[in-house]
């Protein structure tokens, strides 16, 4: 049984375009899936649907085999959720916030919570209202992790963290992952974080899932071909080619992102432009993401 199983999810808000359009996503126990996408691509909506906070118009959601809308309490007890816009009651002290969560989660691990608090250097007597944004987020993270959830939904968890805190957070999440074999779905704009902990990435673009692959496999199987622009080849020519993930013009260069080895890509490009021979560039994950998303415009 998969930990999370989203099938053909479509979600439309009252006004405007579908935020999600037929998205499938399955996460098995122990998997860490990085959810990438530009702002507004539907990442947050997908997470909220997975937690049963929103209902999809089509498709089914199964978390631990249960429908989170029908059995919200059972599902939420086994899930940890950190979101970008999470808020905590400002009039409570840190200890009280923990006590609040403790009373809601039967699997709460008080020792682990204390350890996390110590790691984030809290004493427990601080009022939430007096904490800085990053500090408050740490408390929220502690609350999401301390019940040792089987599924972690992290929506921009490290936004507002300083680099040291981000590293600390990653370490904690990894520890949980190693100890419990929890499944993690997390979205982040920090590609280096994604690289560190994600085994698989799913890329959302305008409500559709365009890529869902093993991260290393994706990186090693994609090739960026660079051609001179204004030389008879337009992005559309490249996009028509087999295995092309995206193509775009960057100043006077034409970038094409392909699945396949450089040799295979070279022969494919030769069919479009006999004169030009492409240059192949090694790219980082960040570049890969940008080429992927921008190249589809």
């Amino acid at each position: 049984m998969s930990v999370l199983e989203l099938t053909n999810i479509t979600r439309v808000f009252e006004r405007g375009l579908p935020v999600l359009d037929g998205v499938d996503l399955t996460i098995e126990a122990g998997q860490v899936v990085g959810l990438l996408g530009q702002n507004g691509a539907g990442k947050t909506t997908l997470m909220r649907i997975a937690l049963g906070m929103l209902r999809p118009q089509t498709g089914t959601v199964r978390v631990f085999g249960l429908d989170p809308c029908e059995r919200p309490v059972e599902v939420k007890r086994r899930v940890g959720y950190v979101s970008e816009d999470q808020v905590l009651p400002p009039y409570l002290r840190v200890k009280e916030v923990l006590a609040l969560h403790r009373s809601l989660y039967p699997s709460w691990d008080a020792d682990f919570a204390d350890e996390l608090l110590g790691r984030f250097s809290f004493q427990g007597k601080e009022k939430i209202a007096k904490l800085s944004k990053g500090q408050a987020r740490r408390v929220a993270v502690t609350c999401a992790l301390a019940h040792r959830p089987e599924l972690l939904l992290l929506d921009e968890p490290a936004g507002g963290f300083d680099p040291a805190a981000r590293r600390e957070f990653l370490e904690t999440a990894l520890q949980l992952l190693a100890d419990e074999g929890s499944a993690v779905l997390f979205s982040s704009h920090h590609m280096s974080d994604v690289e560190r902990i994600a085994g698989r990435v799913a890329v959302l673009d305008r409500g559709q899932k365009i890529v869902d692959r093993d991260l290393d496999e994706l990186r090693e199987s994609t090739t960026l071909a660079v051609l001179a622009a204004n030389n008879g080849v337009v992005p559309l020519d490249l996009k028509a080619l087999d295995g092309c993930l995206g193509a775009r013009i960057v100043r006077d260069e034409l970038h094409g992102l392909f699945l396949g080895s450089p040799e295979a890509v070279r022969s494919r490009i030769a069919s479009v432009s006999a004169t030009q021979s492409p240059r192949f560039a090694a790219i980082t994950l960040e570049d890969l993401f940008i080429e992927l998303v921008e190249g589809r415009r």
Partner: protein, 600 residues
């Protein structure tokens, strides 16, 4: 600089929209209401107008201004966070906020008052209304000034302060409406002087926060100071039921229903429906903080929905304790009385047809004209005026103890004898009544020929006062009514947040919502225009429903308690089921309600 700030205040920018809404509202509701108040008296075609009702008409624009403006009003926030970085003094900010609030309150009020005055121009009452308008403007100015003079060193008011302020505001508005211009004028002058002094003296020029208030780490809390409630309960309470806005609104709900009553359709839609809807909508948005936590919605339900129910029940019970006096021209009364309309609002003498007014529970339902026929033993008969329940439908209610211009004095005494016996248990023969109070009239005289001015409407008051009315206290049905209104408003709010089940339906949701709102507005207007123009209808139907329920429940207090409880439980079960299916409305991140983003 400060004018630019003023211009960009949200409420100021919204003032044209709010004014337009107010104008529309006045045209729809206010004018219709005036139509009701100045309607032609059913039997003799003379206009009737009452100064107190005019005040009510005026209160209406005030009420709707408050309802339209309140959500946007920065009443509790003096200095917003982003404004601290602006190169202006705090004093400027506070003054700008006062000016903006005042504008947003007074401009729509003036617009709708102006419309009402225009409507009344030809009728000679306009002058009588100018004074209350002026008073209201004074009162609002005072309220705004007081709101901002209140502990100016603090950024936001606490719940207690907000409540106190609301009380003072209500008092001031009340005094300004019913008191003369002189008294309120002096009060206004004094208060504004004080407020101006306070602002000048105590609002610091610096926009920086007091460093002493910023202590991130607090000292050790002793064991004796541990809060009584668990953090979870405290958070739920503070998030839902104890929100300052909710507390204030619920307080208003209790006061408004309890003291003003809901005997006309405006008040009926306003207090028991619109106010709870406001409170509930906010509470639902605040659920965002709990949405990701494993708390069953059913567990939160009491905190979200029951406060409104409690406020409604208390309000309606208060209404039962302080029964609302029916207005002078109503065909219904609290006791049996003669209605001779000896004077109207402006004191002009005028003689009208004589009627016997009775408490609404004595009225009857009829479907045919024959059923309305009241026949005395000696053959004289009268067909009381019908009050249509639904426009076009044959169902009517009528007062079976009424008399007409063609009835004889003997018929009047016979009707009075019946009415007094049913309503007060006062058993007098018609002859007795004639001898006691109508001895100077010949029994066969037509009532049309009787001189009615100076007639005592309740000559039997000395006899009936000791007995009271046999009308039972309506607490049981009032609670049932409260549950009904609560169910209606809660169900409506929840309905809005249930997402459409299919894509297709969802796309149509917006169209449907607009259509629904238009439909509701239409129903509202129709209610006024056709059915509820008749003031007798609501009290009579209410009283009849209560009477039939009372018969069914055997007039037992316990039966009523059980009935109300069952009603409340069934309604709650339906609503909990509904609550489980909703999506928590998203927090507004940008736009109008930006300052409301804090969830807890």
């Amino acid at each position: 600089m400060s004018f630019a700030l003023y211009r960009h205040e949200r409420v100021v920018r919204l003032t044209p929209v709010i004014s337009a809404l107010s104008a529309l509202f006045t045209l729809l509701v206010g004018w219709t209401l005036l139509g009701v108040f100045t309607r032609l008296e059913t039997s003799n075609g003379q206009p009737v107008f009452d100064a107190e009702d005019a005040l009510l008409v005026l209160l209406l624009p005030l009420l709707q201004t408050l309802v339209f403006v309140l959500p946007f009003l920065p009443v509790r926030t003096r200095v917003q966070d982003h404004e601290r970085s602006l190169p202006v003094t705090r004093r400027t900010l506070v003054v700008v906020r006062i000016a903006a609030t005042w504008t947003a309150l007074v401009v729509p009020l003036l617009v709708s008052s102006g419309l009402i005055l225009m409507r009344l121009r030809g009728e000679g009452h306009a002058g009588a209304l100018l004074l209350p308008v002026a008073n209201l403007v004074c009162a609002l100015t005072l309220v705004v000034l007081l709101a901002f003079a209140w502990k100016p060193a603090k950024e936001r008011l606490s719940i207690l302060e907000t409540l106190g302020l609301a009380l003072v505001a209500a008092l001031v508005v009340y005094v300004s409406l019913y008191g003369g211009l002189q008294g309120i004028g002096l009060l206004y002058l004094a208060a504004s002087l004080v407020a101006a002094f306070v602002i000048h003296r105590f609002v610091p020029a610096s926009t920086a926060e007091d460093p002493a208030a910023d202590t991130t780490f607090v000292e050790d809390v002793g064991p004796g100071r541990e809060p009584l409630l668990s953090p979870l309960t405290r958070t739920i309470l503070k998030t839902t039921a104890l929100r300052p806005f909710n507390v204030t609104a619920l307080f208003f709900l209790v006061v408004c229903i309890g003291l003003i009553g809901v005997d006309n359709p405006v008040l009926m839609l306003w207090f028991p429906i619109a106010l709870p809807i406001h409170v509930l909508m906010r509470s639902l948005t605040l659920l965002n903080g709990f949405d990701a936590l494993p708390i069953a919605r059913a567990r939160l339900f009491p905190w979200i929905a029951l406060p409104t129910l409690a406020a409604l029940v208390v309000g309606f019970l208060l209404m039962g304790v302080f029964p609302h006096e029916y207005r002078s021209y109503d065909p219904v009364a609290n006791a049996v009385e003669l209605d001779s309309f000896s004077e109207d609002a402006l004191g002009a003498e005028g003689e009208y047809s004589l009627h016997v007014r009775t408490p609404p529970q004595l009225w009857q339902l009829a479907t045919t004209a024959d059923a309305r026929l009241v026949e005395a033993p000696w053959g004289e008969s009268f067909r009381p005026l019908p009050h249509a329940v639904l426009w076009g439908a044959p169902l009517v209610v009528f007062n079976p103890y009424d008399v007409g211009p063609q009835s004889s004095v003997r018929f009047l005494t016979w009707q009075l004898a019946r009415a007094l016996s049913v309503a007060h248990g006062l058993h007098l023969t018609p002859e007795d009544i004639h001898a006691r109070w109508f001895a100077d009239l010949h029994p066969d005289t037509k009532l049309d020929d009787v001189k009615k001015s100076g007639l005592d409407p309740q000559p039997w008051s000395a006899l009936t006062a000791a007995r009271g009315t046999t009308s039972p206290r309506k607490f049981g049905s009032l609670v049932a009514l409260a549950v009904f209104f609560w169910f209606l408003s809660t169900a409506w709010v929840l309905r809005r947040n249930v997402p459409a089940r299919t894509l297709h339906l969802w796309r149509r949701a917006r169209t449907r919502r607009i259509a629904m709102s238009l439909g509701l507005a239409l129903v509202f207007v129709l209610l006024f225009a056709f059915t509820l123009r008749d003031d007798a209808l609501l009290p009579v139907l209410g009283a009849l429903a209560h009477r039939s329920l009372d018969l069914a429940l055997g007039t037992s207090a316990w039966a009523w308690v059980g009935f109300d409880l069952v009603l409340a439980v069934v309604a709650s079960l339906v609503l909990v089921w509904r609550l489980n299916r909703i999506e928590v409305p998203p927090l507004p991140r940008t736009g109008w309600k930006k300052c409301e983003v804090s969830v807890f």
